[in-house]
Subunit: 357 residues, 2 copies
DNA sequence: CTGAAAGCGCTAACAT
DNA sequence: ATGTTAGCGCTTTCAG
């Protein structure tokens, strides 16, 4: 009821035109900032606009142009800090250039990812920022290629022969983690990952492995990769530790290659009554706000969200504006925050200064 | 380069029409599911559609209608689990009804909130789900009213005379927290909140206060409300505890009325070397995944995101379809998860079984 | 049952 | 400097 009453039709460009005593074309010109309009008329148009509260309909306006001033963003999920920040950044960047960001979540499904992309194509978006579920070889990227869409791939991606890519320098970050862990004296480390994210997981794993082996050739690196989802990982991890514990050869540190893995690891430690860093050390790829307020604070690799977002948008708009050239592949450096969850192995259990409770 | 080559113009409805040997109007009818089309022609249309890979341009299609099949969602931020989940839910619900969700973040700014709303109005969205920065009396809600927009208000809102509202039953949840805390023996509790979120904060505060006082008339309830942002709260809290510690009358429990407050409290506890629940108990409004993997696990009020989202969409679509009647105000029940961060006051410090480290 | 015509609100040539 | 014309891609009367 209350919602209905003010439903008056919005003024169109013609309403403005007649109020100002000019043609719609002139109104359009004034609003577009064309300078060849007689100042007097321009003023009358502006007055009419003001009076009627006129605003151009961006969609109708785009209808006439080739590409619409819309950027599509496709993220695997919206629930995590990382992608939330990413969407937020992208939104601001798009707005700065007069575009609207339309974000969608693929919910970690490649099928859905492609459907969304098709919808974005239907919308004739000017460009797409795609954070693929798996990697650059998924069906979504294929769809973009096949349909000549303009886009940039971010995050779970290394390089591509058709699209520009921007992501965190996983390998370098992992190397730094390796240096830190080896430096603390760890010689048996478990690396936890999700096979799904193929390319980046491999980069993170190899970055760690090569540096670790270089610094400590005798280091033992176990790997628990879960192909499918996060839940199975919980089981995998439980089994892994059960076996090692029996044989008394459990790792002294865990490096999780993705956020959910860090949560799973932490939860498994809880179950076993292990505490960081006395019983085991932990570093995770992906930082989160809570990691610095828990006790112990959790060491983490911080991805440069802002840099990824701004570089992605920059390169995307260059393509939108028609710039040619081969696809570029950017890697943005991460920060590694070594917090309390990492310590030296073999320190007397439960000895620690501030590590009670 | 590679991105350019496949840029062929997409087939329009006329292309389909000529391929099928019918008019565009007929194609439109077939695609709209009108049954009065000769089956033979319908089939030819479908074949042509298939052949050309034709898909309707949803924006062009909406152009002809009064309202576009777009739902706008405005959230205060995208970075938190709560709003991330909310957007995700809303997206799915909108899609189910053939609409596209366009989400935007007001970044906790009422000014921006109104700007975004204006843009959504320009887009002629069919309806808006607004999670206001502050409450139902902000400029954004005013704008919606003034322009006869269809919408529903969620989260930081209690009831409104112009729009339907859906939110968590803050008062009931707070009452439950009060029962739990009083039950554990707490007689001095600090409540932490953000004044900005006026209505809900008051509901949460009063829900707690009234129940607590009823159960334990001698209880002492301190309140630290921060008007502006989160950062100042950190200082406020620090000062608060410094004073109490000197006088040795610090509270035995803290109830934070919003997520960031929980983080700030936790961080302050760290600074002081206090551990939950031995040194102090903690409950926070708003749950997060990490709260169950830390040691101790943090007690929290879980907001019913799915219920809020689905009820909001339901009532919104009813309005979109023209249903009248006075605005409704729904309150969805929360779950209170009493985890390890809550214990009895005065238990011997650092005594606890599983609470080491 | 089908197609021609008339737009939705706007912009870009092309005249004037 | 401005208006006229012709659409963008689609849907919807309304005759046939």
């Amino acid at each position: 009821m209350a919602q209905q009453e003010a439903q008056q039709r919005r003024p169109s460009i013609h309403d403005v035109a007649s109020h100002a005593g000019v043609s719609a074309a002139t109104v359009s010109k004034v609003l577009a900032g064309v300078t060849t309009v007689k100042p007097e008329n321009a003023q009358r148009v502006l007055d009419a606009v003001e009076l009627l509260g006129y605003r151009v309909d961006p969609l109708a306006s785009d209808m006439r142009r080739a590409k619409r001033r819309i950027i599509g963003a496709i993220m695997p999920e919206f629930e995590s800090e990382f992608f939330g920040q990413m969407v937020s950044e992208l939104e601001g960047l798009a707005e700065q250039r007069g575009y609207t960001l339309v974000a969608a979540s693929s919910r970690e499904s490649e099928t859905r990812e492609k459907e969304i992309l098709a919808r974005m194509h239907d919308w004739r978006v000017a460009g797409v920022v795609l954070a693929p579920v798996r990697n650059e070889h998924g069906p979504a990227a294929g769809f973009m290629k096949a349909n000549g869409m303009t886009g940039v791939l971010i995050d779970r991606v290394l390089a591509d022969d058709a699209f520009d890519t921007v992501s965190a320098d996983s390998a370098a970050a992992s190397a730094e983690v390796a240096r830190a862990l080896v430096g603390e004296g760890h010689r048996h480390v478990l690396v936890v990952g999700l096979g799904q994210q193929a390319a980046t997981v491999r980069a993170r794993l190899e970055g760690f492995r090569s540096t670790a082996l270089e610094l400590a050739p005798d280091i033992r690196i176990d790997v628990v990769l879960c192909e499918s989802d996060v839940e199975p990982l919980r089981t995998l991890l439980r089994d892994y530790f059960s076996k090692r514990e029996a044989g008394d050869d459990r790792p002294t540190a865990v490096y999780s290659l993705f956020l959910k893995g860090t949560l799973v690891a932490l939860s498994e430690f809880r179950r076993r009554g292990w505490h960081c860093p006395n019983d085991i050390s932990l570093v995770g790829f992906d930082d989160a706000e809570w990691m610095q307020v828990t006790w112990p604070a959790i060491a983490a690799v911080v991805q440069p969200v802002r840099e990824i977002a701004s570089n992605a948008m920059e390169v995307l708009f260059r393509r939108i504006e028609g710039e040619g050239g081969p696809p570029t592949a950017r890697l943005e450096p991460c920060k590694v925050l070594m917090r309390e969850s990492v310590g030296s192995p073999g320190s007397v259990p439960h000895s620690g200064g501030g590590d009670r409770q």
